[in-house]
Amino acid sequence: MPRALSDALLAAALTAVLLTPIFGLHIRVDGVNVSLNRTPMPVIVAVVIVFLLRLFQQPLQRLWAKLRAPASWRENALTAALGQTVQQPRYRLALWLLLLAAAMIWPFTASRGAVDVMTLALIYVMLGLGLNIVVGFAGLLVLGYAAFYAVGAYTYAYLAQQYGLSFWWGLPLAGGLAALTGFLLGLPVLRLRGDYLAIVTLGFGEITRLLLNNLNSLTGGPDGIGNIPRPTLFGLEFNRVASEDGTAFHEFFGLDYSGNHGVIFMYLLGLALVLATLFVINRLLRMPLGRAWEALREDETACRSLGLNPTVIKLSALTLSAAFAGFAGAFFAARQGYINPESFTFIESAMVLAIVVLGGMGSQLGVMLAAVAITVLPELAREFNEYRMLAFGLVMVLMMMWRPQGLIPASRPPQKLPEHAEATQ
């Protein structure tokens, strides 16, 4: 017991030192008068809690172990059954089709606001899937993903504003330019150890924000770019009144004008882009490139000994990942109608990273669920917003300790030798 007591006292003292300057004292500036406000209560509460927890650590741990045993048994049985079902290719396909059907029917039954929020969620799904390529599959940390997103958004916005370019031309150009940016950034950095990429992309994100704010003639500075045209459906516009030589959707089909049409169209377009993203990524995973990403993540030295150039393979992941950010950016610009640098800060990059980490690096279903959860949650609970970033930070740390492979573990479909598949059964 004396050992536990001294440990507990030490932990309590440490807690006091850590918390006092942050929560126990506040600097008040009142004109020229500066004073220190004391708010000892939260610190005292925390110190007492830490002291007690540490003092009774061992009995508590024993109690926890006792409570946990049956629960973990149930959990295992459940996840095992679920895992089995999901692993079966037949059920897997059915599950995906069901999800898709629900996602397509849903907007016609939901409110306009809800559809709009889900469209935003689809953008984050796209971003999450895109970042997942480089973080989850290639195992490289990118901390300035919002910069590629910004390149895409501003490319479309600028081209539309200056040259009247339509969304359907802007989309590939935005993706292409974002990809080029990723390529040029990765070229000097990826020859080196992978973790330099994290800091370089972090810096690049900051520089991009800085340039967006200061290159007024190109980006409109802090005000950004407005009046970005929405996409058309084979030339049909979703406005109340069609432009001079255009046709409006509702006139063409002889419907009454409704704002819902446009909103639902944007949602379905977002869904189509997500499906396209999923298709491309799933092909990639089965291609030599996808195999090489995984091999590289496992053993870079072995890859080199077999003639694979690690720089080229990492660069391909970063370039493709950036391209998807570019597509998402163009779609974002089209949905909003206006953009400014505020949408492309570090917080945005951190949020997409949180999506990837929470969803399980490499797992696409997980990333999609996490993207929807992270976008919809703040809408449901406004108070959550203040603590959102705090929670993201904490989630990243806890996930790394608890399950670095994410809530849903990744599964790249393993390639099989067809005629011998039975031999392993």
Partner: protein, 267 residues
């Protein structure tokens, strides 16, 4: 041995496949390899032996481009390779295994063999996305080659298993197959018999001879198993404390007093 017949036309018969000259490697204050020189000829099985810490693996790492030697030169087919990065050297036909097997453990056995064919496959983006006929053919051929080599090393039955779950001896075999599927000119094996049982060692012996006879490959070998080395090698280099102390045929090495002293110690 009649090597002249196997030689491609237009190459001087006396040019060695691999020529290592004055090779030294210094790590800080430690001279790990000191002035090593040797030749490996086409179709030859060449072994490097010596006590632990003699610098054998460091020689491998210098030859394969994993280290850049402090001084000296390495040439493959007369072309200097000592400044090339390791993946370029591998593409020139010089591949290796590792002392402690380095497979892609979470990938399947057959995938390990697909990875090593990466440079010969259709790796461009668009053909793969749209599965062009050429792409499909390349992938199918890669699988066939994989099946061929799995058959050869007796791993066909476990083709779809996770590589990390194979028995140790099987992992060693897979690592060799993974090298051979790239059509190398020179195969470097770093202690291939370490951890194998006598039966597996005999299989390894047979496999190495088979590769040399039928697949036009020279073998550079680091090994501690003396019966394997003495039986299989055409020429042996003995190293001690980073320095070469003897080179010659197995019979000469066996009777060399310096070698005996290095292995048995001062009497």
């Amino acid at each position: 041995m009649s090597l002249a017949a196997a030689l491609p036309a237009g190459q001087p018969a006396d040019q060695p496949l691999l020529a290592v000259r004055n090779l030294s490697m210094r790590f800080g204050g430690l001279l790990a390899v000191d002035n090593v020189a040797f030749d490996v000829r086409r179709g030859q099985i060449f072994a490097i032996i010596g006590p632990n810490g003699a610098g054998k693996t460091t020689v491998f790492n210098c030859v394969g481009g994993f280290y850049h030697p402090t001084t000296g030169s390495v040439a493959l087919d007369g072309q200097a390779i000592n400044h090339l990065p390791s993946h370029r050297i591998a593409r020139l036909g010089l591949v290796r295994t590792f002392q402690n097997v380095r497979l892609f453990k979470t990938m399947s056995v057959v995938e390990n063999l697909l990875i090593s064919q990466h440079t010969q496959l259709e790796t461009r983006l668009l053909p793969g996305l749209f599965k062009t006929p050429k792409y499909r053919r390349a992938e199918a051929e890669a699988l066939e080659r994989a099946a061929f080599w799995l058959e050869k090393v007796g791993l066909l039955a476990v083709a779809n298993r996770e590589a990390g779950n194979l028995a140790y001896g099987q992992q060693r075999q897979l690592e060799i197959a993974r090298c051979m599927i790239t059509h190398p000119k020179l195969l470097m094996l770093d202690e291939p018999a370490a951890g194998l049982n006598p039966q597996e060692t005999r299989d390894l012996d047979r496999l190495i001879n088979e590769l040399r006879a039928n697949h036009e490959v020279a073998v550079l070998l680091i090994e501690h198993d003396m019966s394997l080395v003495m039986g299989i090698s055409d020429e042996i280099l003995v190293m001690e404390y980073g320095r070469p102390i003897a080179t010659g045929a197995p019979a000469e090495i066996r009777s060399n007093p310096k070698v005996i002293k290095a292995y048995l110690g001062e009497e």
